[in-house]
Symmetry: C2
Subunit: 140 residues, 2 copies
Amino acid sequence: MQPSAEQAAVLAANEAFYRAFATRDLAAMDRLWARAAEVACIHPGWIPCLGRTAVMASWTGILANPDAPNIRCLKAQASVYGTVGVVVCYEAIERNYLIATNLFIAEAGDWKLVHHQAGALAVAPPEPPEPAAPVPGRLH
Amino acid sequence: MQPSAEQAAVLAANEAFYRAFATRDLAAMDRLWARAAEVACIHPGWIPCLGRTAVMASWTGILANPDAPNIRCLKAQASVYGTVGVVVCYEAIERNYLIATNLFIAEAGDWKLVHHQAGALAVAPPEPPEPAAPVPGRLH
């Protein structure tokens, strides 16, 4: 089923989050998190970071780490409840998979993050989370 | 800081969720999950259960297990964004701790669950999550 326009906008904000994460772009990450609303962030295995100062301090540390592995977001699905968007997606970090919940609220005309929780998966995602590799010699 | 009336109502719904979980009350668990809205549930390490049928099938299995350990919710904190309530809390299962995100929406006059994610903690909660044991001989 095609996402609605609202779901598509939430998914675009979710993609911007993972782009900021993957490219170590702290300024973009800072712009993505809500300013006025309460925010919280639960990195895998961590106790929660509560409040914007703690959340951004955690990202400052994570994005400054030159050895941080690459991250990709896969199979994101969005639900919208009024002015809150909820995304469930897999995170691929090298050969490991996590599962994440990301919450966005409508703030100043944009969808802004208010909550992120990622946790380890004990099992592989149920189907190949990436498009199959192109077959040599086939154009499409 | 005291929770607002809305936060208190969301925290009460969160307590009802953990009471249904701890007492293996499938009927109560069923009443707690939203009927009309999209729902999702991410048990620790599992791939997501998407949709009410999959979510309730997961709870039917979990609550039917006579060997399931006891669960307690600790240090719950609620934020309310419009018609969506977000609770972050620890879950104590015997001597292990998890961290959870629970989302509630206002549906038919009640706060109903639309989303649950729990994941393992790699560290202990930052301070004793339970009240200190009473001092013998002290009445209060």
